[in-house]
């Protein structure tokens, strides 16, 4: 069992958990992810590695309760644990291979949408530890859903906020804010890293293509094993089929077929949704007939 040492609620239905997993903590690098299984009957759920501490042997993850398994995860408390906790998986971010000179010369912009703040955090932290201050845009529906703002501000002075309803920071889409920063305020970025919902990454990619800035996206595809064994995570990048779990999760955003990726994310959705309805009915105490 992989024990939960700390749990906190960041926003409604969004939890941060520090988990004891020495092997994963020891090996993790920015950009990688892991897979958890809550219990005997749970699904294999891919999650972002949000932070890791090799010395303490802990990994911090982030979970939004949306499906049957994630709801059971959210119900776990400090002292409980995960049946399984596998990782780190996937390739580390490309930037960790940069030479110190190249790092110093590169101006990074991270665009984090919603839960995307979690995978962005270790990258910005990794850079800050090497004296590189990246720019960050955190995008959210409203003020209450902005994640990690203080943590980011502790690492870099250039943290920009965008909310759909304008309850905090810039009112509007992250893409518009990005454009404004570049076109109107004359900021120069050499590399944009976009992590968030597929639809956001798609539009960031379109925007940066226009602006001529190389861009990386981290793809949260469906996954089963996370090791290249099943192909559930197939994405088309540059016209070729790639397995996001082993060749990604980060890819050149200008080459990714986001429309296909979004469609494939929905492959099991109807079934999941039906299952959730059934779960709700079961809890409500009457029989259901969902005819799977």
């Amino acid at each position: 069992m992989f024990k939960i040492l700390k749990k906190s609620e960041l926003a409604p239905s969004i939890y941060l958990m520090e988990v004891e997993a020495p092997r994963v903590a020891h090996a993790a690098q920015p950009g990688q992810f892991l897979i958890v299984i809550v219990d005997e009957k749970g699904e294999r759920i891919p999650l972002t590695i949000c932070d890791y501490d090799a010395a303490k042997g802990t990994v911090t993850i982030f979970i939004q309760a949306i499906g049957a398994s994630t709801m059971r995860i959210a119900a776990l408390n400090e002292g409980d644990g995960f049946a399984d906790f596998v990782g780190p998986l996937g390739q580390p971010s490309e930037l960790i291979h940069y030479s110190p000179e190249r790092l110093a010369a590169t101006k990074f912009m991270f665009v984090a949408g919603g839960l995307g703040a979690a995978p962005v955090y270790p990258q910005v932290k990794w850079l800050a530890e090497r004296g590189v201050q990246a720019d960050v845009i955190i995008g959210a529906k409203n003020e209450s859903l902005i994640l990690f703002e203080d943590e980011f501000r502790a690492l870099t002075p250039n943290v920009h906020i965008a909310t759909d309803d304008g309850s905090k920071g810039y009112k509007g889409l992250v893409t518009n804010l990005l454009k404004e920063l570049v076109v109107e305020q004359g900021n120069r970025y050499d590399c944009v890293v976009a992590i968030g919902p597929m639809i956001m990454m798609k539009f960031v990619a379109l925007t940066t293509k226009e602006l001529g800035i190389p861009t990386i996206a981290s793809l949260n595809t469906l996954m089963v094993d996370g090791t290249g064994m099943c192909g559930a995570c197939r994405v088309t990048v540059g016209g070729k089929t790639r397995f996001a779990c082993v060749e990604g999760p980060e890819f050149d955003a200008h080459q990714v077929d986001f429309d296909e990726a979004m469609r494939r994310q929905g492959m099991y959705r109807t079934i999941e949704e039906r299952r959730r309805a059934a779960e709700a009915e079961r809890v409500a105490g009457h029989k259901c007939n969902i005819g799977l």
Partner: protein
């Protein structure tokens, strides 16, 4: 004198009933049936069956023990050469190995060696026949990567002679293909696979699941930081192949590995488990091997109308003959000499059919099989909701890519000698990781040979 009776039939679940459940298809022999079947063996002086067995199980000897009424002795005879009789008795391609060579097969039906082996394995397990004890710990540690038949066999043999063995497995359950690939109705997990793994644990072997060798820890770290003197790589051939035809990324196209992993490892067929599976109403499985048969019969059991599409003819089907026979009984539709050209999608990007072309057999190719040739203008469509690709698999490159000095061949297989020595000192390999997708018995044999080589290697260094 051998008994000249016909081969004793084996009891099976009714095809109509079993096509709707995941219970085991074949019930196997009971003591009476096994004893009777055993009397058919001639006890040949030069047994052709043994020659045809990849690990040379002493077949007439164990059969003789059954005739004598001493099943425990039979179990011990098999144990000299095979670690997994209950598994191999169920999944070995006997018709091309022992039974294919049996002298009785020349004129009539061969001895049911597989069914007898299964009987002995099951009996031994159920009666708790103790087969091996671990020698006292000799102070040396060996790491095994992968808990499939190759890894388990290697680990068990090393533990028996006193090594401290840890098996590292990436999935959350041990067993490799026995766990995630071969379905419950052919190889029961709790009744057969679980106890076999338990036996290996009982020898003192530690199995650490959830470890991705190459990511969580590298082979070098295992040797340099964790004190393992040798490493055995039995990581299998788990990478699925796709055809590269248009439409393969539509919703509803999955690899057989994904489909089978969802059902077997993740229990998607059981509503108490969270993992979803999708079959729509009509499923087409592309391929003709064991994996294809397992996928199509699983789809049928999940309620789909299920078909096999295979580009050669029935005689070339690489699957075990018994599986093809069972699949037909269960109402699987076989479309032979048919090759997919494109997968067709609806406006929302979901599979709605598969466009195929008819084939005819041409001249025999290098492998001796007659290669299929397209018949021009023969294209037609099969409507369906799901397409499952069962086209074969290749080894995962992860370990080779993260282990300097470990060489692979063009097909991505680890280069290794018959004894399992690789191009890296102290690193051994065997099973599907070396041969590409093959069989349980070959993997098990390779694991055992490597165990002997690892023992010799560690002795030579100390």
């Amino acid at each position: 004198m051998a008994n000249k009776i016909p081969r004793v039939p084996v009891r099976e679940q009714d095809p109509k009933v079993r096509a709707t459940n995941f219970e085991e298809v074949c019930y196997g022999y009971n003591l009476e049936e096994a004893s009777l079947e055993a009397t058919r063996c001639l006890g040949c002086k030069k047994p052709r069956c043994v020659e045809a067995c990849p690990v040379s199980v002493k077949i007439p000897d164990f059969i003789h023990c059954i005739v004598e009424g001493d099943v425990a002795a039979a179990a011990r005879v098999i144990a000299q050469d095979s670690l997994l009789p209950s598994v191999c008795g169920r999944v070995c391609p006997q018709e091309t190995q022992c039974e294919g060579a049996c002298i009785l097969g020349v004129k009539g039906e061969p001895v049911a060696i597989g069914k007898l082996e299964r009987f002995v394995g099951d009996w031994g397990r159920e009666q708790g026949v103790a087969l091996a004890e671990a020698a006292p710990h000799n102070g040396h540690k060996v790491a095994v990567v992968g808990s499939g038949p190759a890894g388990l066999a290697c680990a068990a043999d090393l533990a028996k002679i006193g090594y401290g063995v840890t098996v590292f497995e990436v999935l959350h359950r041990a067993g490799g293909v026995l766990q995630y690939g071969i379905p419950e109705f052919r190889l029961p997990k709790e009744r057969v696979v679980g106890p076999e793994i338990e036996n290996v644990r009982r020898l003192g072997v530690k199995i650490e699941t959830d470890v991705v060798v190459g990511r969580t820890v590298t082979v070098d770290q295992l040797m340099d930081e964790e004190g393992f003197e040798a490493v055995f790589i039995g990581s299998g051939a788990g990478l699925p192949r796709f055809m590269g035809i248009p439409g393969e990324n539509l919703n509803g196209v999955v690899s057989a590995n994904e489909f089978l992993t969802r059902t077997n490892l993740m229990h998607a067929y059981d509503r108490q488990y969270d993992t979803p599976i999708y079959t729509g109403g009509r499923v087409v499985v592309v391929g003709g091997g064991n994996v294809a048969m397992d996928a199509v019969r699983t789809a049928k059991r999940l309620g789909a109308e299920a078909s096999i599409v295979y580009r050669r003819s029935e005689t070339e089907l690489p699957a075990r003959r018994e599986e093809v026979h069972h699949a037909k009984e269960e109402g699987i539709d076989f479309r032979m000499l048919t090759n997919p050209a494109e997968i067709l999608g609806d406006e929302r990007g979901w599979v709605k059919g598969i466009r195929c072309v008819r084939m005819e057999l041409g001249e025999p190719d290098a492998s001796g099989r007659r290669s299929p040739v397209e018949i021009p203008g023969s294209e037609f469509e099969i409507p369906c909701d799901v397409v499952i690709m069962a086209l074969g698999t290749s080894p995962n490159p992860l370990i080779a890519a993260t282990t300097p000095g470990l060489e692979t061949n063009r097909r991505g297989c680890v280069e290794a000698t018959d004894e399992g020595a690789t191009t890296r000192e102290g690193v051994f390999a065997g099973g599907d990781a070396v041969t590409g997708a093959a069989t349980v018995i070959l993997a098990m044999g390779a694991g055992r040979r490597a165990a002997a080589a690892i023992d010799a290697y560690i002795r030579s260094k100390n």
